[in-house]
């Protein structure tokens, strides 16, 4: 894209910055997408493991269920 709009618009196509770098931009975005899944799954697994460790005993679960009944329902 040039530095002026004094042009016939029928001659103008794509106008976004970094024309010609589209493949690189897409590859970076695909990598970001895949990394997001890895990071999210790791985070979720760690959260669940922590929950099980802290509240996984039968007494703790029963207490949690009783508390929910009185507070959150």
């Amino acid at each position: 894209m040039g530095s002026t709009w004094a042009v016939d618009l029928k001659d103008i196509g794509a106008v976004y910055p970094l024309l010609g770098w589209e493949v690189i931009m897409v590859l970076v975005a695909v990598a970001a997408w895949l990394l997001w899944h890895f990071a999210q799954i790791r985070e979720e697994e760690a959260d669940h493991a922590d929950d099980v460790k802290r509240y996984g005993k039968p007494e703790a679960i029963k207490k949690a269920l009783d508390e929910q009944h009185s507070v959150w329902s």
């Binding site: 029928k10 196509g13 997408w33 507070v71």
Partner: protein
């Protein structure tokens, strides 16, 4: 755009699709409210995030490869006359690669972005259909992989096959599914069923003798408003399934004369006015029968309205309004009975009835359209099979089972094999939001203590 009429038509079409996208956003708002309303308080945040985050994930993947698949796959590949992927030419897929100049702000192209967006909102919808069934025990990470699978791969392949003017199912089977009974709803319900079989029911859902316990919706108002918003968004969905204005020269098929028209995705003529009759009549049929068959249960009455529209959608471009009314009623009647039978017989815990409302009704919609529209042309072009019961039934099976159930079951099995599908038993029992809710309560208590100290 050469000529004022051409420019006006193009810019009108651009704005038309843009508006449909805005309206269809309401479907997603409705699904979020509905799912949260059905889930128990201890799982609200998890349920909300699970549905919300499918939107960005399906969006980016639909940009990366979903849209390309739609244009590449109409021949199968290799199902229609041994032809492969369609990559080049006027409708070739390579112009929709994510790095192609059309996939951005391009002054020579006013349609690609809005057409892509309309299809993307269908993608969100189909992934949301699956989401509701799995609440309160599926891991978010697993669901989002399933959402990408159905939202950016399997449904868009079925659209290329049966919801594209050049799709092999339209050519060979005469498949007709104007407002997506099969291509959105049957595949969504089929996928949900495949995943549910592997995932299993929520803890406590069934008694020892197999009788289901009622997990009543936690917030009827959220469910009500959510379903009304889904109805509202459905108007945008119907509009987005049409080409709003097109000339016979552009269709370039067998249509003669000079009369411009709106068309379905197959470029067969219809009118927005006509589908308005049918949308409302099928909604009414579903609501009325849903109310009766469920003995006034609000959850199934509202779902009945949705089911009515879904069942009539395959042929709502052509039905008489009274036909749409009865088809809508019949759809929810069968789906309701089947849902309860499957639940008891196979212990399938479909928390929102999505397999019934979307899956069974979507499939039935394909079958009914095959009979009622028997002999209608499936396309304005020569050489296409006409609409027929066998073709539409096979089409329904492809949507529900081949592209819905099987991929859902396989991917769920793989995720389950890696231990990634279902939350640990203890976490399910205490609730997925347990830690967050405890933290919130602790923060409130801290504020209360601080306030008391100021007295």
């Amino acid at each position: 755009m050469d000529g004022n009429l051409n420019a006006l038509t193009t810019l009108f079409t651009e704005f038309y699709y843009w508006v449909t996208i805005v309206i269809m956003f309401l479907i997603h708002v409705g699904f979020c409210m509905y799912e949260v309303g059905v889930s128990r308080r201890r799982n609200h945040l998890h349920t909300l995030m699970k549905n919300t985050m499918l939107a960005p994930l399906v969006t980016i993947t639909f940009f990366f490869f979903g849209w390309w698949l739609y244009w590449a796959m109409p021949n199968g590949p290799f199902i229609y006359q041994g032809k492969g992927l369609i990559l080049d030419g006027v409708t070739g897929a390579n112009q929709y690669l994510p790095w192609a100049p059309k996939m951005g702000v391009n002054l020579q192209d006013h349609i690609t972005g809005v057409f892509w967006g309309a299809f993307l909102l269908f993608s969100w919808t189909v992934a949301s259909i699956v989401s509701g069934s799995l609440i309160e025990r599926v891991k978010s990470g697993a669901f989002w992989i399933i959402a990408v699978m159905i939202g950016s791969v399997t449904w868009i392949i079925d659209a290329a096959w049966g919801w594209h003017f050049d799709g092999w199912m339209v050519k060979l089977l005469g498949y007709h599914d104007a407002y997506a009974s099969g291509v959105i709803h049957a595949i969504g319900g089929g996928t949900a069923l495949g995943v549910l079989i592997v995932l299993g029911p929520r803890l406590g859902r069934f008694m020892a003798d197999g009788t289901p316990r009622e997990f009543a919706p936690q917030n009827q108002w959220l469910v009500t408003v959510g379903l009304f918003l889904i109805y509202t968004g459905f108007w945008g969905f119907y509009a987005a399934c049409n080409v709003p204005i097109i000339s016979p020269e552009v269709i370039a098929g067998q249509v003669t004369g000079t009369a411009w028209t709106a068309t379905t995705i197959y470029l067969t003529p219809t009118t927005l006015s006509g589908i308005t009759f049918n949308f409302l009549m099928s909604l009414s049929g579903g609501l009325m029968v849903g109310y009766l068959v469920s003995k006034g249960n609000p959850f199934w009455t509202y779902s009945g309205g949705l089911a009515g529209v879904i069942t009539a959608s395959a042929g709502n471009d052509l039905y008489h309004p009274v036909q749409a009314f009865f088809i809508g009623g019949l759809g929810i009647y069968i789906a309701y009975k089947l849902h309860n039978w499957v639940e008891r017989r196979f212990k399938i815990d479909d928390a929102v009835g999505a397999v019934a409302v979307h899956g069974y009704c979507g499939f039935l919609g394909c079958v009914f359209a095959g009979f009622l529209l028997w002999g209608y042309p499936s396309s304005p072009y020569e050489g296409y099979a006409t609409v027929n019961p066998l073709g539409n039934t096979i089409g329904g099976v492809i949507m529900f089972f081949v592209l819905g159930f099987i991929p859902g079951w396989v991917v769920a099995k793989i995720l389950d094999g890696f231990g990634l599908l279902r939350v640990p038993r203890a976490v399910e029992l205490i609730g997925l939001d347990f830690k967050s809710l405890n933290d919130e309560e602790a923060a409130r208590e801290d504020v209360r203590r601080a306030e008391k100290a100021l007295v």
